[in-house]
């Protein structure tokens, strides 16, 4: 806990002797604690505000930018944080009407959907096997699979570029559908192990006593109970697809196959021409929904992490 939550002063907790001198002492201690408490609260709010400001600064500036007129934006004497001329929505419309933004978004969603499907199809059984089926070496195997996540795209993209070319998938979103699960499967298996371990064994055993096979118990009892884990994997696979940069940059060059994260920086910056307002609008439009979903799932991620790591 932080220091902002000052407990009862020690004198209150100690079995002191009653007396006038003591009650004055207690009073003094109490006042000091309240003062410390107030100071702590103020400090906490100040720190929280500062953290939020630093984290959000580029996005605040980006939001203002997105609605600025060119004459307002490209004048270095103007206060950048206010609208010196009336705001305009034309750069946001430009983003939707004149650039491939919607195509990039659709590609990202499509790839994300397929990657999620592959990740779940492969990851659910693998996690169950490691969590429940008494595999010999389950622990080391789980750790090994997790460490695959640490093998970075920057080490593999060169040879994978050849692999993708040999398979004839270059310049197609299918190359991403094939390769992205190599990143999502390891993390998802790790997350799902935690969720599976949280499902009481009794439920499964009861199902098997009732005549379900192990396979049916897995499919009909355990997976539905671990649904939050499935949702976490879905969110993770989608965000990863939106985040990934290097593979997409190396594999794909036509505009209509690009995903958000390479489409926006490569298509809205044409040579030396930066479409700054539209660029910022794109960044905000992508950042806010993802952050929103993540916030909804944050508690889940934290429990998933502690279960997977600490009790794994």
């Amino acid at each position: 806990m932080t220091g902002t939550r000052v407990g009862p002063p020690p004198a209150l907790a100690a079995p002191g002797q009653p007396g006038l001198a003591d009650s004055a002492h207690v009073e003094r201690l109490r006042r000091r604690a309240t003062k410390r408490h107030r100071f702590g609260r103020g400090g906490l709010y100040l720190l929280a505000l500062a953290a939020a400001f630093v984290a959000a600064l580029p996005f605040i500036w980006g939001t203002i930018t997105a609605f600025k007129r060119d004459a307002d934006l490209y004048n270095s004497e103007n206060n950048p944080f206010v609208f010196n001329l009336d705001p305009t929505g034309e750069h946001v419309s430009f983003l939707f009407d004149e650039t491939g933004f919607l195509t990039f978004a659709a590609n990202t969603l499509w790839v994300g959907l397929l990657v999620s499907a592959i990740t779940l199809a492969v990851g659910l059984p693998a996690a169950y096997s490691l969590a429940r089926l008494n595999m010999p070496w389950a622990g080391p195997l789980g750790i090994a699979i997790f460490f695959v996540y640490l093998v970075p795209p920057t080490l593999l993209f060169i040879s994978l570029t050849r692999v993708v070319a040999i398979l004839g998938l270059q310049d197609s979103t299918w190359s991403l559908v094939l390769i992205y699960p190599t990143i999502t499967i390891p993390v998802s298996v790790w997350l799902l192990i935690g969720f599976f371990k949280a499902v009481p064994r009794d439920l499964e055993e009861q199902a098997m006593v009732d005549g379900y096979s192990r396979l049916a118990a897995f499919g009909r009892i355990v997976v539905p109970l671990a649904l939050p884990g499935v949702v976490a994997v879905l969110v993770f696979a989608f965000t990863l697809t939106a985040h990934e940069f290097i593979y997409a940059l190396a594999f794909i060059s036509p505009t209509d196959a690009k995903t958000i994260s390479i489409g926006v920086p490569t298509e809205l910056i044409r040579g030396d021409v930066f479409f700054w307002q539209s660029l910022q609008a794109a960044a905000i439009l992508v950042a806010v929904p993802i952050a929103f979903v993540f916030n909804l799932l944050l508690e889940r991620f934290i429990t998933g992490f502690t279960m997977g790591a600490v009790k794994g």
Partner: protein
């Protein structure tokens, strides 16, 4: 005399029997994941190793063994040494910053206060935003002419002219480090938060009853108990930092004059940019020892975490 019980009901035949045998199901369930990883991570990793000793280019993909020629070439290349040094410098500095800031942020996020969800939402933005888009937002923050930071500095009289954040060697490096740290801190804070939450309540209560103050609790309880998780969070951040090239690629393309070039971005420049896959692979290979060291360190921290 024979009191051995009758054998229990024989297990059902056929499909059900197979679907019940853990010894068969367990490897069968694990197989697809293992195959996927071997085919698309294991083999490409070996391929990358082989490429480094070959003359494969985008134009001429035929594989010829050339021994250590690629390595001789990159060892003679001052840009390679610069990239290697930058990679280490970036990682060490942003790791150090991340430890302090993430710990502080985790302690803010664990406290209860009003409008916490707003703060949490904003604080997580750097991590949840696709890195390329976050880098684009920073590129605009650090613009050579219209940077709002410059405007503020000029208005309060701290600076006569613009700073050119990405135009000078040291400033460009500092900018790249700052953006990396800005991005990694929320992730590290969330991991540390998970560690803080797992501290048993009775330990905290005991400390409160004993009247331990903020700093005392910090140094004698939370820090020792969360040290392994802080280590894991930081190492993760480090791996994400030194294996990433998108921040450098978007902010500076390695410039000015390779001042911010890192191994991944240089490998990309050589391998995909100039089409020399072999040399790109050889450069990227130097990430491997760093990675191995990080992996071993993470493993040790996780082991320590399990002993609590």
């Amino acid at each position: 005399m024979n009191t051995v019980a009758e054998p229990r009901a024989t297990p059902p035949q056929g499909r059900a029997k197979l679907a019940d045998r853990e010894g068969v199901l367990a490897p069968l369930f694990l197989l697809p994941a293992v195959l996927y990883i071997i085919a698309l991570v294991g083999i490409p990793l070996l391929l990358a190793l082989a490429f480094a000793f070959s003359d494969v280019t985008v134009g001429d993909p035929s594989f010829d063994w050339v021994g250590f020629r690629n390595f001789d070439a990159i060892f003679d290349d001052p840009v390679f040494w610069r990239s290697l040094r930058n990679t280490v410098v970036f990682t060490v500095i942003s790791m150090a910053l991340t430890i302090v800031l993430a710990k502080a942020l985790a302690m803010i996020l664990i406290a209860d206060f009003r409008f916490k969800w707003v703060v949490r939402f904003l604080v997580l933005l750097p991590w949840t935003t696709p890195i390329a888009l976050a880098a684009v937002a920073w590129l605009w923050m650090l613009d050579s002419v219209y940077s709002p930071i410059d405007w503020v500095l000029r208005s309060i009289g701290l600076s006569e002219s613009n700073v050119y954040w990405l135009g000078k060697d040291t400033l460009a490096m500092a900018s790249v480090i700052a953006v990396h740290t800005w991005r990694i801190v929320p992730l590290a804070a969330v991991i540390i938060l998970a560690g803080l939450i797992s501290i048993p309540n009775d330990i905290k209560d005991a400390a409160d009853i004993d009247g331990a103050g903020f700093w005392r609790k910090l140094f004698e309880i939370t820090l020792p108990l969360t040290l392994p998780v802080i280590a894991v969070a930081t190492l993760f951040g480090a791996v994400l930092t030194f294996t990433d090239m998108s921040v450098v690629y978007i902010l500076t393309r390695g410039g000015p004059e390779n001042a911010t070039q890192v191994l991944p971005s240089y490998a990309f420049l050589k391998g995909i940019g100039s089409g020399d896959l072999a040399q790109g692979a050889a450069i990227a290979l130097f990430l491997f020892p760093l990675l191995l060291a990080a992996a071993v360190a993470i493993l040790r921290s996780v082991k320590k975490m399990e002993t609590f």
